[in-house]
């Protein structure tokens, strides 16, 4: 058998975990991944996002997302009256009207902004993997669900393509796959996080603006971050239990 050094590095930790169960006489229970040990979420650090679109391209590559549909996308906000409404530079005027653009989901970046006035920021968006998800509640056949580790998934062999969930999602994170004709959405790279990898978008983000977080892991840096930063979720008034946390989110973001 020919095993490369890389393969060994991948296999050794898995073997170490499995060995415990082999010794206990229950090798069939040896897990490389235990759903009950995780509760996945994502942290998005708005001031770090530069709008390069790396995450959108990475997601498309990793998950074979069809052109024109997005599992993640980036929006650019421009609040032109930001300085005027608030000379002290505190909060945004709640009545201000932000200009939002997202050309092709921000996949190829954004046009150069020349207007220096006001406030600009980028908001990467993706499925919020809500704990009390409206999209899973409306599915008539049980094809979409919150997995035991907190990821909202679609069973595409079971989905009818009725698009009820597409309408139910308050964040616009679902679409009907143009070829498969079933609901499709961000899986939080479930095939990666169950193997110990981070998501494709986090892997490709050059500034660390996106970070995968495991709320059940007491050593995850997200706990410290949530305590020390002003972190919000999108549309908190809808009580969806959204698990994508935005740092320094402007009040104008919907």
């Amino acid at each position: 058998m020919n095993i490369s050094r890389r393969r060994i590095l991948v296999l050794l930790p898995a073997a170490a975990v499995a060995w415990k169960y082999v010794l206990a006489g229950t090798p069939e229970e040896s897990p490389n991944y235990k759903m009950s040990d995780h509760w996945w979420s994502m942290l998005i650090d708005i001031p770090k996002c530069i709008g390069c679109g790396n995450c959108v391209r990475a997601c498309q590559t990793e998950n074979d997302v069809p052109d024109g549909n997005f599992r993640t996308w980036v929006e650019r906000y421009h609040i032109s009256d930001w300085q005027m409404t608030n000379p002290l530079g505190g909060m945004t005027n709640p009545m201000s009207d932000p200009q939002v653009i997202s050309p092709d989901g921000g996949k190829e970046g954004f046009p150069v902004a020349t207007d220096e006035s006001g406030k600009y920021f980028f908001v990467p968006k993706l499925c919020n993997h809500c704990a009390d998800s409206p999209c899973t509640q409306v599915c008539p056949v049980g094809a979409t669900f919150v997995s035991p580790d907190g990821v909202v998934l679609v069973d595409q062999t079971y989905c009818l393509g009725c698009a009820y969930c597409v309408q139910a999602c308050p964040y616009g994170c679902r679409y009907i796959h143009p070829v498969k004709k079933v609901a499709d959405k961000c899986t939080l790279c479930y095939h990666r996080i169950t193997k110990g990898l981070t998501t494709a978008c986090c892997e490709a983000c050059p500034t660390g603006a996106r970070q995968l977080a495991d709320l059940k892991n007491p050593k995850d840096p997200i706990h410290e971050f949530l305590k020390t930063h002003s972190v919000q979720v999108l549309k908190p008034q809808m009580a969806t239990g959204a698990k994508v946390f935005y740092n320094d989110l402007d009040g104008s973001v919907r």
């Binding site: 001031p47 902004a113 049980g142 669900f145 035991p148 490709a204 050059p206 500034t207």
Partner: protein, 159 residues
Amino acid sequence: MNVFKDAGHLFRFAGLFVLAFLVFLVVRHFVVPKSFGQYGHYRGNAIGEIAAHPVKFAGHETCEACHADVAETKNKGKHAHVNCEACHGAQNKHASADDPSTVKPVLPDTTVLCARCHTASAAKPKGFPQVVPADHSNGLPCDTCHKPHSPAMDAGGAK
């Protein structure tokens, strides 16, 4: 008095009802997937099927297992926090090949690649290093002067 007198039609109907219920149970047994309801009102096996999707981005730990020298250079420079595949693209085909040298990754064109992040725009965070490519290098590829793995000129990055 016999209460069951003239009740035959009720028994026939009850029998029909029981039969229909049995047919329902049999059909249900074959129609509902085995793992449905394992964790909730959905097919439990779907979780495993979704997790079986092929990986395209190998992850920087995998890259660094072989390219430790590049990782060392990169970790000393400004791009320490930028993962390999942020610039080089998805490389699991290269990483998982029996002989990785047979699947050669395409070297990114720095004229396009660097500009994606470093083109000056009023929309970008002020502290982020940005240039107007046309003024900065007059169309020359960035790697004429900067080494992408350690781009600062004063850190020995320039050729």
